[in-house]
Protein backbone atom coordinates (compact mmCIF):
# COMPACT_ATOMS: atom_id res chain seq x y z
CA UNK A 1 0.00 0.00 0.00
CA UNK A 2 1.58 3.26 -1.15
CA UNK A 3 -0.33 5.73 0.99
CA UNK A 4 -0.49 3.76 4.22
CA UNK A 5 -1.04 6.20 7.09
CA UNK A 6 1.30 6.64 10.03
CA UNK A 7 -0.06 3.94 12.38
CA UNK A 8 2.53 4.75 15.04
CA UNK A 9 0.89 8.09 15.75
CA UNK A 10 -2.69 6.84 15.71
CA UNK A 11 -4.79 5.54 18.60
CA UNK A 12 -6.00 1.94 18.32
CA UNK A 13 -9.50 3.33 17.75
CA UNK A 14 -8.30 5.50 14.87
CA UNK A 15 -6.56 2.50 13.38
CA UNK A 16 -9.72 0.45 13.75
CA UNK A 17 -11.70 3.19 12.00
CA UNK A 18 -9.13 3.32 9.17
CA UNK A 19 -9.33 -0.44 8.81
CA UNK A 20 -13.11 -0.30 8.74
CA UNK A 21 -13.05 2.22 5.90
CA UNK A 22 -10.59 0.04 3.96
CA UNK A 23 -12.03 -3.34 4.92
CA UNK A 24 -12.02 -5.88 2.11
CA UNK A 25 -14.75 -7.89 3.80
CA UNK A 26 -17.05 -4.86 4.11
CA UNK A 27 -16.56 -4.45 0.36
CA UNK A 28 -17.32 -8.12 -0.23
CA UNK A 29 -20.49 -7.77 1.84
CA UNK A 30 -21.54 -4.67 -0.11
CA UNK A 31 -20.85 -6.51 -3.35
CA UNK A 32 -18.04 -4.13 -4.38
CA UNK A 33 -15.65 -7.06 -4.48
CA UNK A 34 -16.98 -10.28 -6.05
CA UNK A 35 -17.27 -13.41 -3.94
CA UNK A 36 -19.08 -16.73 -3.89
CA UNK A 37 -21.85 -16.21 -1.33
CA UNK A 38 -23.18 -19.24 0.45
CA UNK A 39 -25.64 -17.67 2.86
CA UNK A 40 -26.82 -14.27 3.98
CA UNK A 41 -29.45 -12.75 6.23
CA UNK A 42 -29.88 -9.40 7.96
CA UNK A 43 -26.99 -9.93 10.39
CA UNK A 44 -24.51 -12.40 8.96
CA UNK A 45 -22.98 -13.40 5.65
CA UNK A 46 -21.11 -16.51 4.64
CA UNK A 47 -18.82 -16.75 1.61
CA UNK A 48 -16.47 -19.40 0.29
CA UNK A 49 -12.85 -18.84 1.35
CA UNK A 50 -10.71 -18.26 -1.73
CA UNK A 51 -7.75 -19.94 0.01
CA UNK A 52 -9.59 -22.92 1.44
CA UNK A 53 -8.25 -25.51 3.86
CA UNK A 54 -10.71 -27.93 2.24
CA UNK A 55 -13.39 -27.99 -0.43
CA UNK A 56 -16.37 -26.05 0.95
CA UNK A 57 -14.40 -23.99 3.51
CA UNK A 58 -16.73 -21.14 4.53
CA UNK A 59 -16.06 -17.80 6.16
CA UNK A 60 -18.89 -16.63 8.40
CA UNK A 61 -18.94 -12.95 9.29
CA UNK A 62 -21.14 -10.23 10.67
CA UNK A 63 -22.49 -7.78 8.11
CA UNK A 64 -21.46 -4.92 10.34
CA UNK A 65 -17.71 -4.40 10.80
CA UNK A 66 -16.39 -5.60 14.17
CA UNK A 67 -12.68 -6.26 14.55
CA UNK A 68 -12.90 -8.99 17.19
CA UNK A 69 -15.49 -11.31 18.72
CA UNK A 70 -15.74 -9.60 22.14
CA UNK A 71 -16.89 -6.37 20.39
CA UNK A 72 -19.84 -7.95 18.60
CA UNK A 73 -23.12 -6.83 20.24
CA UNK A 74 -25.06 -9.46 22.12
CA UNK A 75 -27.97 -9.91 19.69
CA UNK A 76 -25.68 -10.25 16.68
CA UNK A 77 -23.41 -12.74 18.45
CA UNK A 78 -26.45 -14.69 19.61
CA UNK A 79 -27.80 -14.90 16.06
CA UNK A 80 -24.39 -15.84 14.67
CA UNK A 81 -23.93 -18.67 17.20
CA UNK A 82 -27.42 -20.05 16.68
CA UNK A 83 -27.02 -19.92 12.89
CA UNK A 84 -23.79 -21.92 13.14
CA UNK A 85 -25.89 -25.00 13.73
CA UNK A 86 -27.79 -24.55 10.46
CA UNK A 87 -24.63 -23.74 8.53
CA UNK A 88 -22.95 -26.88 9.86
CA UNK A 89 -25.97 -28.91 8.81
CA UNK A 90 -26.19 -27.35 5.32
CA UNK A 91 -22.46 -27.72 4.73
CA UNK A 92 -22.45 -31.38 5.77
CA UNK A 93 -25.26 -32.14 3.36
CA UNK A 94 -23.70 -30.15 0.51
CA UNK A 95 -20.24 -31.66 0.84
CA UNK A 96 -21.53 -35.06 1.95
CA UNK A 97 -19.45 -35.34 5.07
CA UNK A 98 -20.41 -35.72 8.70
CA UNK A 99 -17.69 -33.68 10.41
CA UNK A 100 -16.73 -30.03 10.51
CA UNK A 101 -14.27 -27.78 12.31
CA UNK A 102 -15.23 -24.35 13.64
CA UNK A 103 -12.14 -22.18 13.97
CA UNK A 104 -11.97 -18.72 15.54
CA UNK A 105 -8.86 -16.58 15.89
CA UNK A 106 -8.94 -13.48 18.08
CA UNK A 107 -5.85 -11.40 17.38
CA UNK A 108 -3.07 -11.60 14.79
CA UNK A 109 -0.93 -13.84 17.02
CA UNK A 110 -3.76 -16.41 17.01
CA UNK A 111 -3.89 -16.30 13.21
CA UNK A 112 -6.60 -13.70 12.64
CA UNK A 113 -5.95 -12.63 9.06
CA UNK A 114 -8.54 -9.94 8.61
CA UNK A 115 -9.53 -6.85 10.59
CA UNK A 116 -13.19 -7.87 10.11
CA UNK A 117 -14.17 -10.57 12.59
CA UNK A 118 -15.03 -13.87 10.94
CA UNK A 119 -14.94 -17.51 11.79
CA UNK A 120 -13.98 -20.47 9.65
CA UNK A 121 -16.27 -23.41 9.06
CA UNK A 122 -14.31 -26.23 7.44
CA UNK A 123 -15.77 -29.55 6.23
CA UNK A 124 -13.64 -32.43 7.49
CA UNK A 125 -12.93 -35.92 6.26
CA UNK A 126 -10.90 -38.77 7.67
CA UNK A 127 -7.18 -38.39 6.94
CA UNK A 128 -7.71 -35.00 5.28
CA UNK A 129 -4.28 -33.83 6.41
CA UNK A 130 -5.64 -30.87 8.39
CA UNK A 131 -3.62 -31.85 11.42
CA UNK A 132 -3.01 -28.24 12.45
CA UNK A 133 -6.54 -28.13 13.87
CA UNK A 134 -5.60 -30.80 16.39
CA UNK A 135 -5.16 -29.19 19.79
CA UNK A 136 -1.88 -30.43 21.27
CA UNK A 137 -1.71 -32.21 24.61
CA UNK A 138 1.25 -31.24 26.77
CA UNK A 139 2.63 -31.81 30.25
CA UNK A 140 2.82 -28.86 32.58
CA UNK A 141 3.37 -28.66 36.32
CA UNK A 142 0.08 -28.85 38.17
CA UNK A 143 0.60 -25.47 39.83
CA UNK A 144 1.10 -23.81 36.43
CA UNK A 145 -2.37 -24.99 35.41
CA UNK A 146 -4.04 -24.54 38.79
CA UNK A 147 -3.08 -20.88 39.17
CA UNK A 148 -5.84 -20.06 36.66
CA UNK A 149 -8.60 -22.12 38.29
CA UNK A 150 -9.98 -19.61 40.80
CA UNK A 151 -9.77 -16.44 38.66
CA UNK A 152 -11.31 -18.12 35.59
CA UNK A 153 -14.05 -19.63 37.72
CA UNK A 154 -15.08 -16.31 39.21
CA UNK A 155 -15.01 -14.53 35.81
CA UNK A 156 -17.05 -17.25 34.08
CA UNK A 157 -19.60 -17.36 36.88
CA UNK A 158 -20.14 -13.61 36.63
CA UNK A 159 -20.36 -13.60 32.83
CA UNK A 160 -22.75 -16.56 32.65
CA UNK A 161 -24.95 -15.03 35.35
CA UNK A 162 -25.18 -11.89 33.24
CA UNK A 163 -25.86 -13.98 30.11
CA UNK A 164 -28.67 -15.89 31.80
CA UNK A 165 -30.23 -12.71 33.11
CA UNK A 166 -30.19 -11.30 29.56
CA UNK A 167 -31.73 -14.36 27.99
CA UNK A 168 -34.22 -14.83 30.83
CA UNK A 169 -33.08 -18.41 31.32
CA UNK A 170 -32.00 -17.91 34.93
CA UNK A 171 -35.32 -16.32 35.81
CA UNK A 172 -37.19 -19.37 34.57
CA UNK A 173 -35.00 -21.58 36.70
CA UNK A 174 -35.47 -19.56 39.85
CA UNK A 175 -39.22 -19.64 39.37
CA UNK A 176 -39.04 -23.43 39.30
CA UNK A 177 -37.09 -23.51 42.54
CA UNK A 178 -39.62 -21.23 44.24
CA UNK A 179 -42.39 -23.55 43.13
CA UNK A 180 -40.53 -26.46 44.74
CA UNK A 181 -40.18 -24.55 48.01
CA UNK A 182 -43.81 -23.59 48.03
CA UNK A 183 -44.95 -27.19 48.09
CA UNK A 184 -46.25 -27.61 51.66
CA UNK A 185 -45.35 -31.21 52.37
CA UNK A 186 -42.77 -33.25 50.47
CA UNK A 187 -44.13 -36.48 51.97
CA UNK A 188 -47.07 -37.95 50.11
CA UNK A 189 -50.16 -39.12 51.94
CA UNK A 190 -49.47 -42.74 51.08
CA UNK A 191 -46.08 -42.66 52.84
CA UNK A 192 -47.66 -40.92 55.78
CA UNK A 193 -50.44 -43.51 56.13
CA UNK A 194 -47.85 -46.29 56.00
CA UNK A 195 -45.81 -44.59 58.70
CA UNK A 196 -48.85 -44.30 60.96
CA UNK A 197 -49.84 -47.96 60.39
CA UNK A 198 -46.27 -49.10 61.12
CA UNK A 199 -46.14 -47.20 64.39
CA UNK A 200 -49.13 -48.20 66.58
CA UNK A 201 -47.94 -46.00 69.44
CA UNK A 202 -48.04 -42.93 67.24
CA UNK A 203 -51.40 -43.96 65.81
CA UNK A 204 -52.75 -44.32 69.32
CA UNK A 205 -51.36 -40.94 70.29
CA UNK A 206 -52.86 -39.20 67.27
CA UNK A 207 -56.22 -40.83 67.92
CA UNK A 208 -56.47 -40.29 71.62
CA UNK A 209 -54.09 -37.53 72.61
CA UNK A 210 -53.60 -35.17 69.64
CA UNK A 211 -52.29 -32.42 71.96
CA UNK A 212 -49.55 -34.72 73.31
CA UNK A 213 -48.67 -35.71 69.76
CA UNK A 214 -48.16 -32.06 68.81
CA UNK A 215 -45.58 -31.82 71.61
CA UNK A 216 -43.98 -35.02 70.36
CA UNK A 217 -43.67 -33.48 66.88
CA UNK A 218 -41.86 -30.46 68.25
CA UNK A 219 -39.44 -32.68 70.18
CA UNK A 220 -38.60 -35.04 67.32
CA UNK A 221 -37.21 -33.57 64.07
CA UNK A 222 -37.75 -36.82 62.10
CA UNK A 223 -41.44 -36.87 62.94
CA UNK A 224 -41.67 -33.14 62.46
CA UNK A 225 -40.45 -33.56 58.89
CA UNK A 226 -43.25 -36.04 58.16
CA UNK A 227 -46.03 -34.10 59.81
CA UNK A 228 -44.96 -30.58 58.89
CA UNK A 229 -47.84 -28.30 57.85
CA UNK A 230 -50.47 -30.86 58.75
CA UNK A 231 -53.49 -30.07 60.91
CA UNK A 232 -53.14 -32.70 63.65
CA UNK A 233 -56.69 -32.19 64.92
CA UNK A 234 -58.08 -32.94 61.45
CA UNK A 235 -55.76 -35.92 61.08
CA UNK A 236 -56.97 -37.29 64.39
CA UNK A 237 -60.60 -36.87 63.34
CA UNK A 238 -59.92 -38.53 59.99
CA UNK A 239 -58.19 -41.49 61.61
CA UNK A 240 -60.99 -42.09 64.09
CA UNK A 241 -63.51 -41.91 61.22
CA UNK A 242 -61.51 -44.63 59.39
CA UNK A 243 -61.30 -46.70 62.55
CA UNK A 244 -65.04 -46.53 63.05
CA UNK A 245 -65.20 -47.71 59.44
Amino acid sequence: MADQPDFDNMTPEQIAEYQKQNCIFCKIIKGEIPSRKAYGDDKIVSVLDINPAAKGHLLVMTKEHYPILPLIPFDTASHMFRTTKGLVNALKQAIITNKTTVFIANGAVAGQQSPHFLYHLVPRENNDGLDNFVVPVKDYKEEEVLQYLAPIRSRLDAMMKDFKARTGRAAAKQAEIKLEEAKPNPVNSHELAKFIEDNPKIKDMILNNPEDFKKEIEANPEIKKLFANLDIAKLSAALSAIKKG
Binding site: A53, L71, P73, V88, A90, L91, G111, Q112, V135, V145
Partner: protein, 186 residues
Protein backbone atom coordinates in the same frame (compact mmCIF):
# COMPACT_ATOMS: atom_id res chain seq x y z
CA UNK B 1 -22.67 -45.62 25.63
CA UNK B 2 -19.28 -45.58 27.33
CA UNK B 3 -17.80 -42.12 27.35
CA UNK B 4 -14.81 -41.12 29.47
CA UNK B 5 -15.92 -37.48 29.37
CA UNK B 6 -19.45 -38.29 30.57
CA UNK B 7 -17.95 -40.33 33.43
CA UNK B 8 -15.64 -37.53 34.45
CA UNK B 9 -18.47 -35.00 34.33
CA UNK B 10 -20.78 -37.11 36.48
CA UNK B 11 -18.01 -37.94 38.96
CA UNK B 12 -16.75 -34.34 38.85
CA UNK B 13 -13.23 -35.70 38.36
CA UNK B 14 -11.90 -32.58 36.70
CA UNK B 15 -10.71 -29.05 37.38
CA UNK B 16 -14.11 -27.46 36.87
CA UNK B 17 -14.20 -23.72 36.20
CA UNK B 18 -17.89 -23.48 35.35
CA UNK B 19 -20.91 -25.71 35.69
CA UNK B 20 -24.67 -25.39 35.26
CA UNK B 21 -27.49 -27.74 34.25
CA UNK B 22 -26.40 -27.95 30.61
CA UNK B 23 -22.74 -27.00 30.39
CA UNK B 24 -19.41 -27.58 32.02
CA UNK B 25 -16.03 -25.87 31.56
CA UNK B 26 -12.79 -27.41 32.75
CA UNK B 27 -9.05 -26.90 32.73
CA UNK B 28 -7.69 -29.96 30.91
CA UNK B 29 -5.01 -31.80 32.91
CA UNK B 30 -2.78 -31.87 29.81
CA UNK B 31 -3.36 -28.46 28.21
CA UNK B 32 -1.83 -26.99 25.06
CA UNK B 33 -0.73 -24.12 27.33
CA UNK B 34 -1.63 -23.19 30.92
CA UNK B 35 -4.92 -21.27 30.78
CA UNK B 36 -6.35 -23.63 28.14
CA UNK B 37 -10.09 -24.12 28.84
CA UNK B 38 -12.42 -26.77 27.45
CA UNK B 39 -16.17 -26.13 27.36
CA UNK B 40 -18.72 -28.84 26.62
CA UNK B 41 -22.35 -29.82 26.91
CA UNK B 42 -22.98 -32.14 29.86
CA UNK B 43 -25.18 -34.36 27.75
CA UNK B 44 -23.37 -36.59 25.28
CA UNK B 45 -23.36 -35.00 21.83
CA UNK B 46 -20.77 -35.45 19.11
CA UNK B 47 -22.16 -33.05 16.45
CA UNK B 48 -23.15 -29.37 16.56
CA UNK B 49 -26.30 -30.03 14.54
CA UNK B 50 -27.53 -32.61 17.07
CA UNK B 51 -27.90 -29.99 19.77
CA UNK B 52 -30.86 -27.65 20.33
CA UNK B 53 -30.53 -24.01 19.25
CA UNK B 54 -30.45 -22.74 22.84
CA UNK B 55 -27.72 -25.19 23.78
CA UNK B 56 -25.61 -24.26 20.75
CA UNK B 57 -25.99 -20.60 21.66
CA UNK B 58 -25.12 -21.16 25.34
CA UNK B 59 -22.11 -23.29 24.46
CA UNK B 60 -20.65 -20.69 22.09
CA UNK B 61 -21.31 -17.86 24.54
CA UNK B 62 -19.52 -19.82 27.26
CA UNK B 63 -16.61 -20.35 24.84
CA UNK B 64 -16.63 -16.64 24.01
CA UNK B 65 -16.63 -15.71 27.73
CA UNK B 66 -13.87 -18.20 28.45
CA UNK B 67 -11.87 -16.58 25.65
CA UNK B 68 -12.31 -13.13 27.21
CA UNK B 69 -11.49 -14.48 30.67
CA UNK B 70 -8.27 -16.27 29.71
CA UNK B 71 -7.20 -13.37 27.50
CA UNK B 72 -7.19 -11.15 30.58
CA UNK B 73 -6.18 -13.61 33.26
CA UNK B 74 -3.38 -15.36 31.35
CA UNK B 75 -2.27 -11.96 29.93
CA UNK B 76 -2.53 -13.36 26.43
CA UNK B 77 -2.05 -11.54 23.13
CA UNK B 78 -4.88 -13.38 21.43
CA UNK B 79 -7.03 -16.49 21.71
CA UNK B 80 -8.10 -19.41 19.57
CA UNK B 81 -11.50 -21.05 19.83
CA UNK B 82 -11.56 -24.45 18.14
CA UNK B 83 -14.34 -26.97 17.79
CA UNK B 84 -13.38 -30.20 16.04
CA UNK B 85 -16.36 -32.50 15.60
CA UNK B 86 -15.39 -36.14 16.05
CA UNK B 87 -16.99 -39.33 17.30
CA UNK B 88 -16.18 -38.30 20.87
CA UNK B 89 -17.96 -36.03 23.35
CA UNK B 90 -18.23 -32.61 21.72
CA UNK B 91 -15.97 -29.91 23.21
CA UNK B 92 -14.66 -26.45 22.32
CA UNK B 93 -11.05 -25.63 23.14
CA UNK B 94 -10.16 -22.08 24.16
CA UNK B 95 -6.43 -21.45 23.99
CA UNK B 96 -4.69 -18.26 25.12
CA UNK B 97 -1.99 -17.26 22.63
CA UNK B 98 1.25 -15.34 22.99
CA UNK B 99 4.02 -14.39 20.56
CA UNK B 100 6.38 -17.30 19.90
CA UNK B 101 4.40 -19.77 22.01
CA UNK B 102 5.27 -22.59 19.62
CA UNK B 103 1.62 -23.21 18.65
CA UNK B 104 0.29 -22.98 15.11
CA UNK B 105 -3.25 -23.86 14.10
CA UNK B 106 -3.13 -22.34 10.62
CA UNK B 107 -3.57 -24.67 7.69
CA UNK B 108 -1.86 -24.73 4.33
CA UNK B 109 -4.37 -23.46 1.71
CA UNK B 110 -5.50 -25.84 -0.99
CA UNK B 111 -5.18 -24.80 -4.60
CA UNK B 112 -8.57 -24.96 -6.26
CA UNK B 113 -9.48 -23.90 -9.79
CA UNK B 114 -12.34 -21.41 -10.33
CA UNK B 115 -14.33 -24.27 -11.87
CA UNK B 116 -13.90 -26.39 -8.75
CA UNK B 117 -14.85 -23.42 -6.59
CA UNK B 118 -17.97 -22.80 -8.68
CA UNK B 119 -18.96 -26.43 -8.40
CA UNK B 120 -18.71 -26.52 -4.61
CA UNK B 121 -20.43 -23.12 -4.46
CA UNK B 122 -23.40 -24.50 -6.38
CA UNK B 123 -23.63 -27.48 -4.03
CA UNK B 124 -23.67 -25.25 -0.96
CA UNK B 125 -26.19 -22.69 -2.26
CA UNK B 126 -28.35 -25.67 -3.10
CA UNK B 127 -28.46 -26.53 0.60
CA UNK B 128 -28.39 -22.96 1.96
CA UNK B 129 -32.12 -23.12 2.61
CA UNK B 130 -31.29 -25.56 5.42
CA UNK B 131 -29.52 -22.84 7.38
CA UNK B 132 -32.82 -21.33 8.40
CA UNK B 133 -33.57 -19.36 11.46
CA UNK B 134 -33.87 -21.84 14.27
CA UNK B 135 -35.52 -25.12 15.17
CA UNK B 136 -38.98 -24.16 13.90
CA UNK B 137 -37.75 -22.85 10.59
CA UNK B 138 -36.26 -26.22 9.66
CA UNK B 139 -39.77 -27.65 9.32
CA UNK B 140 -41.02 -25.06 6.84
CA UNK B 141 -37.69 -24.68 5.07
CA UNK B 142 -38.56 -26.91 2.16
CA UNK B 143 -41.06 -24.42 0.80
CA UNK B 144 -38.38 -21.79 0.44
CA UNK B 145 -35.89 -22.42 -2.33
CA UNK B 146 -32.23 -21.49 -2.12
CA UNK B 147 -32.55 -18.84 -4.83
CA UNK B 148 -35.02 -16.79 -2.82
CA UNK B 149 -32.67 -16.59 0.12
CA UNK B 150 -29.83 -15.43 -2.07
CA UNK B 151 -32.16 -12.92 -3.74
CA UNK B 152 -33.19 -11.64 -0.36
CA UNK B 153 -29.56 -11.25 0.52
CA UNK B 154 -28.87 -9.34 -2.68
CA UNK B 155 -31.69 -6.91 -1.86
CA UNK B 156 -30.45 -6.27 1.62
CA UNK B 157 -26.79 -5.94 0.88
CA UNK B 158 -27.05 -2.25 0.12
CA UNK B 159 -29.62 -1.48 2.77
CA UNK B 160 -28.68 1.11 5.40
CA UNK B 161 -25.47 1.45 7.31
CA UNK B 162 -26.25 1.13 10.99
CA UNK B 163 -24.32 3.24 13.42
CA UNK B 164 -21.20 1.70 14.82
CA UNK B 165 -21.31 0.90 18.51
CA UNK B 166 -18.51 2.51 20.42
CA UNK B 167 -16.64 0.15 22.70
CA UNK B 168 -17.25 0.85 26.37
CA UNK B 169 -14.45 2.56 28.24
CA UNK B 170 -13.98 -0.34 30.61
CA UNK B 171 -13.35 -2.67 27.70
CA UNK B 172 -10.98 -0.36 25.86
CA UNK B 173 -7.77 -1.16 27.69
CA UNK B 174 -8.29 -4.87 27.31
CA UNK B 175 -9.09 -4.85 23.64
CA UNK B 176 -6.54 -2.25 22.60
CA UNK B 177 -3.84 -4.85 22.37
CA UNK B 178 -5.92 -6.91 19.98
CA UNK B 179 -6.88 -3.91 17.88
CA UNK B 180 -3.34 -2.62 17.74
CA UNK B 181 -2.00 -5.91 16.58
CA UNK B 182 -4.49 -6.24 13.79
CA UNK B 183 -2.40 -3.69 11.84
CA UNK B 184 0.12 -6.46 11.30
CA UNK B 185 -2.38 -7.89 8.89
CA UNK B 186 -1.29 -7.11 5.34
Amino acid sequence: MDCVVCDKISEKKAMIVYEDDNLVAILPSKPAVPGHVKVMPKKHFTQVDEMGDDLVEELFFLANFASTAVFEIAKAHGTNIILNESDNHLAIDIIPRKENDGLNFIWKPKQMSPAEMDEVHAKITDKAFLVGRGDEFAKSAKKEGPKEIIAEFEDKKSAGETTKEEPKDAKKGKINYLLKHLIKIP
